[in-house]
């Protein structure tokens, strides 16, 4: 671990982490541009970097991207990222009653505390969890991935059916290519361009960047005037007493929610917000510009990142869409996240952990010092910004395999993404289905090869059964709740 910090002190790494965090904050602050999009777009730039450098850059972008969202959430009531939705509840009313600086100060402090607390769990739990996960065989991996897939689909915004539909569609697009379990071409329609299937990067860039650019381009430019904060950001020593318990509690909630596959910062923020409200002596003041509201949401959404990184580096299971892209980034660098990452590439495993802590500190310094300039960046001309992004999309997709087919794939998935969003089918489960189903398929078929085709062998695998039960429960939970509610109504 100390080695990893020492390695990070290399100036290349520090510069990249600084650039990544800064870019993340700016992109996170601009409504409509997300951390997922930023990471997908900068991924091709990292191809020729050393893997440690690449990972540092991407982690910086991730942390910055989630944190930057609070600026516009507070000043404009436009959450820069979905994770900051909760921050608008109390942050914007505070800004309107001339307390914008105070809201920003609390938001930034809470973000950093959330980040550091979840870092403690990330650094403390990961190596042990990785040793434990080494015992996992194909059955365990299959059920684990299945559980992640189901949770992501079900807990996505919108309806259960549409979430599952999106995941199924994503899985269908993952089918063409070389069937990895028998080495034969599948659904390629005789085209050699289809032999490698749809590339991860073109699909991600298409679904997240192209469709977002198209959507933004169609929207009228908002003329909302932004009030740039002028005064210093006020924090007091007494804040540690008044907000400390709330920060710690919300950070713990955030870490544990982040740990579950599929639930990201926005749910974590919502849960800790409502917990803070329930435990509060004055719940009525929440939503009117009450300071604990900002603190709860911002500690939790940052803590969720550290929580979600735990299954990512120990088992290779993504906790969110952004993490699915990070897994893609690692595999592009010939690194496989999973229990052996700590043994085979300790500089990467510990590098991620160290970079996560440093990114939080950089974020604090940058946000504290430059929040008013970052707020001004939101006024950048939209047309110029979108054209630059579009150029990056094309270059990025082409650079992966020097193949123009990938560019067409990217454009096609941009249109598909736009269509899905228009039909209110969430894009998150679509991409997760696309990323996870090849792993699930490979593991299931490996399990069946091991057991000579006997699916009942799963009953001898307690962990696999547990994951399977959780997956079934996740799907059935709404129905069970309904039934209980109905029974109650009947009995009363």
């Amino acid at each position: 671990m100390l080695d990893a910090f020492a390695a990070l002190m290399d100036w290349h790494n520090l510069v990249l982490l600084l650039v990544g965090t800064g870019l993340g904050i700016v992109i996170g602050a601009i409504p409509g541009l997300t951390a997922s999009m930023l990471i997908a777009l900068t991924l091709p730039l990292t191809f020729h970097m050393d893997p440690v450098n690449a990972v540092t850059l991407l982690i910086g972008e991730y942390v910055g991207g989630i944190s930057g969202g609070l600026i516009t959430a507070i000043l404009l009531r436009m959450p820069g990222t979905p994770a900051s939705i909760v921050t608008t509840f109390d942050g914007y009313p505070m800004a309107q009653s001339n307390r914008a600086e105070r809201a920003l100060a609390l938001g930034i402090m809470a973000s950093v505390v959330g980040g550091i607390i979840s870092w403690g769990f990330l650094a403390g739990m990961s190596p042990a969890l990785a040793r434990f996960a080494l015992k996992f065989g194909p059955w365990e991996y299959f059920t684990l991935v299945l559980m992640a897939l189901v949770m992501l689909a079900v807990l996505a915004q919108g309806s259960l059916v549409k979430g599952l539909l999106a995941a199924a569609l994503g899985m269908a697009f993952a089918l063409p290519g070389i069937d990895s379990s028998i080495g034969q071409a599948r659904l390629t329609f005789g085209s050699s361009a289809m032999l490698s299937g749809f590339g991860l990067l073109p699909v991600l860039i298409g679904a997240f960047a192209i469709s977002q650019v198209l959507r933004d381009a169609a929207q009228p430019i908002s003329n909302k005037k932004i009030e740039i904060p002028k005064r210093r950001l006020p924090v007091h020593l007494s804040d540690a007493r008044t907000h400390g318990p709330n920060m710690v509690r919300s950070s713990l909630i955030g870490t544990w929610i982040g740990l579950l596959p599929g639930i990201g910062g926005n749910i974590a923020a919502l849960v800790s917000y409502s917990t803070a409200k329930q435990l509060s002596k004055e719940p009525d003041r929440f939503g009117t510009g009450h300071e604990p509201g900002v603190v709860a949401g911002e500690s939790a959404n940052n803590a969720a990142i550290g929580g979600a990184l735990i299954p990512l580096i120990t088992m290779g299971i993504p906790g969110s869409v952004t993490e699915a892209i990070l897994i893609g980034a690692l595999t592009i660098h010939n690194l496989q996240p999973g229990p052996l990452l700590f043994q085979n590439a300790p500089e990467i495993a510990y590098g991620i952990i160290a970079a996560y802590l440093l990114a939080n500190l950089f974020m604090l310094i940058m946000m504290w010092g430059a929040v008013r300039y970052i707020a001004q960046l939101v006024r950048l001309p939209r047309a110029g910004l979108l054209s630059v992004i579009l150029v990056f999309c094309v270059v990025g997709s082409y650079a992966v395999n020097s193949s123009f087919v990938d560019v067409w794939v990217m454009i096609a998935f941009g249109v598909i993404g736009l269509g899905l969003e228009a039909a209110r089918v969430p894009l998150g489960p679509f991409v997760i289905g696309f990323v996870l189903s090849p792993i699930a398929e490979e593991q299931l078929r490996a399990s069946l090869m091991l057991s000579d085709g006997n699916a009942l062998e799963i009953f001898q695998r307690p962990y696999a059964l547990l994951f399977l039960a959780l997956a079934v429960l996740t799907v059935a939970w709404p129905a069970i709740l309904q039934r209980i509610a109905r029974r109650r109504r009947v009995s009363t």
């Binding site: 290349h12 191809f47 020729h48 970097m49 050393d50 450098n53 080494l134 015992k135 996992f136 065989g137 194909p138 290519g177 070389i178 990895s180 379990s181 028998i182 080495g183 034969q184 071409a185 050699s192 361009a193 289809m194 032999l195 490698s196 590339g199 592009i332 660098h333 010939n334 690194l335 496989q336 999973g338 229990p339 052996l340 043994q343 085979n344 992966v400 395999n401 020097s402 193949s403 490979e442 078929r445 490996a446 090869m449 091991l450 000579d452």
Partner: protein, 327 residues
């Protein structure tokens, strides 16, 4: 290293751009007689059918740099990565680049596996072999606490109880074919479990979910802890693993020396091939390159084009026999 490799990448990118521009201008005119006079006339593009960073990519970049440093060819060489489709993407790029010798491929015997499996629309007839610049061989390993200390014990066990041990392989990849050739030769049968990357194979074997796996010798040496090598697939013992017998020593006619194979389109003029051969042969004999190879469990040697093609032909027939059993 870090930033210099970044700039190297940018430089390669620029070279490709320049190459593209050159192609557009000269294109169809630059064939036949013009080439015979002087080769090369423009930068040479090396297509690597894998992502950057793997062995094939690194070796191509090292040799290209060495050739450029010493001026063994009058034009620079630029590496382009074209991963995907079991090499189909790379072969398509090669065809598009023309057959005047300025577009070549650096591959290994995975090409033969793709042909044996009928993936992609290419065969040996599409290529002219420039030659092998060395190569490396894999080892077969079991867990360190395994009951088997020698390969004979393992075979005896599998003959007594067929399919009682699990072998981690990626079906249709090198570990599968090498293992299957050995199994056919020695007359035993294992049970397969899919594991497409070295990391997956390692995870399965260390976690106790598989019994046998194949690793490149360098992969094994990097891990070592928790593993026990039983048999090496090179023609001769590897100096880094003096106690591990080769399959040939044990009386099985199986070897797998996955070579660094340089290929050009089938109609490339002989003059161009000879110029490339001259440069590559010098590069592989260079002390720095030799040092890199021996330090990474690779053997530096030069096998000229026709000899390499004959070897590949023989290897392909053996692979086709294995492929027939799984299709």
């Amino acid at each position: 290293m870090k930033f210099s490799s970044l700039t190297a990448g940018v430089r390669a990118g620029l070279a490709i751009l320049a190459l593209g521009a050159g192609l557009g201008a000269v294109g169809p005119v630059a064939t036949g007689a013009a080439i015979a006079q002087e080769f090369p006339q423009k930068p040479i593009q090396i297509i690597v059918p894998f992502k950057p960073g793997g062995r094939t990519d690194v070796v191509a970049r090292l040799l290209a740099e060495k050739i450029q440093q010493n001026g063994w060819l009058s034009q620079p060489m630029a590496v382009m990565n074209a991963d995907g489709g079991a090499g189909a993407n790379a072969v398509n790029q090669m065809r598009r680049g023309g057959d005047d010798g300025h577009t070549i491929v650096h591959w290994h015997h995975q090409a033969l596996i793709a042909m044996a499996m009928g993936l992609g629309d290419f065969s040996l007839d599409d290529f002219k072999s420039i030659g092998y610049t060395g190569g490396g061989s894999p080892v077969w390993v079991v867990r360190a606490d395994s009951e088997f200390d020698t390969f004979e014990q393992l075979v005896a066990h599998l003959k007594a109880e067929p399919r009682s041990l699990v072998e981690a392989v990626g079906i249709g990849t090198i570990p599968h074919f090498v293992g299957a050739m050995l199994a056919n030769e020695a007359g035993f049968e294992t049970r397969y479990v899919t594991a497409n990357s070295g990391a997956d194979r390692l995870r399965l074997i260390l976690g106790g979910n598989a019994d046998i796996a194949l690793f490149a010798a360098s992969e094994y040496l990097a891990q070592a802890e928790g593993l026990k090598p039983l048999i090496y697939f090179g023609r001769e013992r590897l100096p880094d693993l003096p106690d591990v017998p080769t399959a040939i020593e044990l009386g099985y006619d199986v070897s797998w020396a996955n070579p660094n194979w340089w290929l050009a389109p089938a109609d490339t003029p002989d003059a161009a091939i000879e110029a490339l051969q001259g440069a590559l042969e010098k590069a592989i004999a260079d002390p720095e390159i030799v040092e890199y190879f021996t330090g990474n469990t690779l053997e530096p040697y030069w096998t000229p084009g026709d000899e390499a093609m004959a070897d590949a032909q023989k290897q392909l027939e053996a692979l086709q026999a294995v492929a027939a059993t799984i299709q």
